[in-house]
């Protein structure tokens, strides 16, 4: 088994008196799809922020492809191949969809000039099905479109790891299915995926492994069946009834 692509060693993050992330250690293997679940306020987004350098870790080390990247700044994380999407999408509103994706290609993806970046961007638009919208202003897209744009932009950054922060929030059922298909295709390309999700349907159908965060601590880690059986997870997050329903669904699957 090759070395893990991402390793967190005893990472903690304090905000004043609040310990948002507490002594988290985990590792991601290249090509995995890992889900990060937990109740609201558990620290999932904060953890992603720490990994990508938006916040600096109060304690612990972060290693990406073997290199220590603990103190990195967000733009460095982007260039190294640590891409993430936001819960509340952050496009460049007055630029076109194509230009938005080209931004990812040009900087994170390291293309040398604007023309090459545009060409690379077109490929990503093709992949995510956004080609018809290439020349529309980013602000003119629907929510589902903007989420796709975030994905395309992240892909243009040639990520080794893609961290998706509640990418399905606000989408309806068919839009979610579309997103799932897209995520699977991204994983097929070899991108490691860490997905923060509340929708168990997504978690169960996509994830090889599940990490459970509660009050900033990693309380459980394992495959889907293990998680659903784990009493701590049930108490902290799933609840008895829901856990039973999932178990039933899994056994039928």
């Amino acid at each position: 088994m090759s070395a893990p692509i991402l390793v967190l060693e005893n990472v903690s993050k304090n905000f004043g008196g609040v310990r948002a992330v507490s002594d988290v250690s985990l590792s991601l293997q290249e090509g995995e799809i890992v889900a990060l679940i937990g109740p609201n306020g558990a620290g999932k987004t904060t953890l992603v922020n720490v990994i990508t350098g938006v916040h600096s870790a109060s304690e612990g080390r972060i290693r990406f492809r073997g290199a220590d990247v603990t103190g990195q700044r967000p733009f460095q994380a982007a260039r190294r191949g640590l891409a993430r999407t936001f819960q509340i999408v952050q496009p460049f509103p007055r630029m076109t969809v194509l230009e938005n994706v080209a931004a990812g290609a040009l900087f994170g993806g390291g293309h040398a000039n604007v023309r090459d970046a545009m060409a690379a961007a077109r490929e990503q638009l093709e992949f995510t099905g956004l080609t018809p919208f290439a020349d529309r202003a980013a602000s003119a897209l629907t929510l589902a479109g903007r989420k796709r744009l975030e994905l395309a932009k992240s892909l243009a950054m040639k990520p080794g790891i893609l961290m998706l922060d509640e990418v399905n929030a606000g989408l309806n059922s068919s839009e979610i299915d579309g997103a799932l298909t897209l995520i699977r295709r991204i994983a097929e390309r070899g991108v490691t995926i860490l997905i923060i999700e509340h929708l168990m349907k997504v978690v169960l159908s996509l994830a090889h492994r599940v990490l459970v965060l509660h009050h900033g601590q990693l309380i459980a880690e394992g495959d889907r069946n293990m998680i659903v059986d784990d009493p701590r997870v049930i108490e902290a997050y799933l609840g008895e009834k829901f856990a039973r329903r999932i178990k039933e669904a899994l056994s039928h699957a």
Partner: protein, 320 residues
């Protein structure tokens, strides 16, 4: 209007401007020098204010520092053109250092900080009498020659500076840097997340916005032969330049030049005819600009403009 048409039109205007000594009187030649000068200043401001969206009010600080750096160099025996180059470098370095500190601020705080820089620099220069002559001002060795020839020379100088800044503008507009600055302007946090080293890019933009103000300042000092702190660090200039750029179209390539020319021509007209009220009229121009030309002259679609005026008047009637 296609790209090449735009360049052709611009070239024609430059030729007209450069040729004024041949067919026009002193007054018009001076006006041309002023237009070229302010075009260079507006183009400079465009880097930080237009492309990057940071409302800088430091133009006067850079201009003034440039004029003093140039004047002091010349007084120390440095040949004229080299003095201008030195002034450019000095102001560039100053801006790079200042920028790395001040660009952490955003919005209003950045605007005030940039204003404050003008004040502090002016006060420092005024107080350092032994070096700068303080409030009494500084004399610069006059360029000898017949007045008309001198004017022609400085017209050429200012036009050359303007063209240099324009060249930089075009280069930035097409480059990775320009793209990145626009990203910063529209969403700085997203720009960071996409892989742009925002601090570095902002410092580049700020430095570029400063350097050539220094050149213009130094050349201006050589032209007038005398500088003092009040005129070199003028608050009016530091506000006029962004307004000119906004008027023409901030973030565009030719907008600053168009804006500077339009503004100065307007100003000359009002100064000549309504001397007493010229400031009020300048103020009125600004107010009109904000309401009716939010993107500047270059970004106006004239059909939409008239439609909007009609809609506004309908709205205000129905709102009663």
């Amino acid at each position: 209007m296609t790209q090449s048409m735009r360049y052709f039109l611009f070239a024609a205007c430059v030729i007209v401007l450069a040729s004024t000594p041949l067919w026009a009187g002193n007054y018009i030649v001076r006006l041309s020098i002023t237009i070229a000068m302010y075009s260079a200043l507006a183009l400079s401001w465009n880097f930080i204010g237009g492309f990057t969206g940071y409302p800088s009010f430091s133009t006067a600080a850079f201009f003034g520092l440039g004029s003093y750096a140039g004047a002091l160099s010349q007084n120390a025996g440095v040949p004229v053109i080299l003095a201008w180059v030195l002034a450019t470098l000095f102001v560039g370095v100053f801006a790079a250092v200042l920028g790395s500190i001040i660009l952490r601020l955003r919005g209003h705080y950045f605007a005030i900080g940039s204003f404050g820089v003008v004040e502090v620099v002016r006060l420092v220069i005024s107080s350092w009498g032994s070096l700068t002559g303080g409030g009494d001002g500084l004399n610069v060795p006059l360029v000898t020659g017949e007045p008309n020839v001198v004017a022609q020379t400085f017209l050429a100088v200012m036009i050359v500076i303007m063209l240099i800044v324009l060249a930089f503008t075009i280069a930035v507009d097409r480059s990775r840097l320009g793209f990145g600055l626009r990203c910063i302007q529209q969403n700085e946090d997203a720009a960071d997340m996409v892989g742009i080293n925002t601090t570095r890019y902002k410092v580049y933009a700020y430095t570029m916005s400063a350097m050539f103000c220094g050149t213009v300042g130094a050349a201006y000092a050589s032209w007038t032969g005398y500088i003092d702190p009040v005129d070199s660090f003028s608050i009016i200039m530091t506000v006029k330049v962004p307004v000119m750029c906004l008027l023409g179209g901030a973030g565009t390539v030719f907008g600053p030049i168009l804006g500077a020319a339009a503004f100065l021509l307007l100003e000359e007209f009002f100064w000549a005819n309504f001397l007493e009220y010229n400031r009020a009229i300048l103020g009125a121009v600004i107010v009109v600009l904000i309401f009716f030309l939010p993107g500047g002259l270059l970004k106006v679609r004239y059909r939409d403009l008239f439609a909007r005026i009609r809609v506004r008047s309908i709205q205000s009637r129905t709102a009663k």
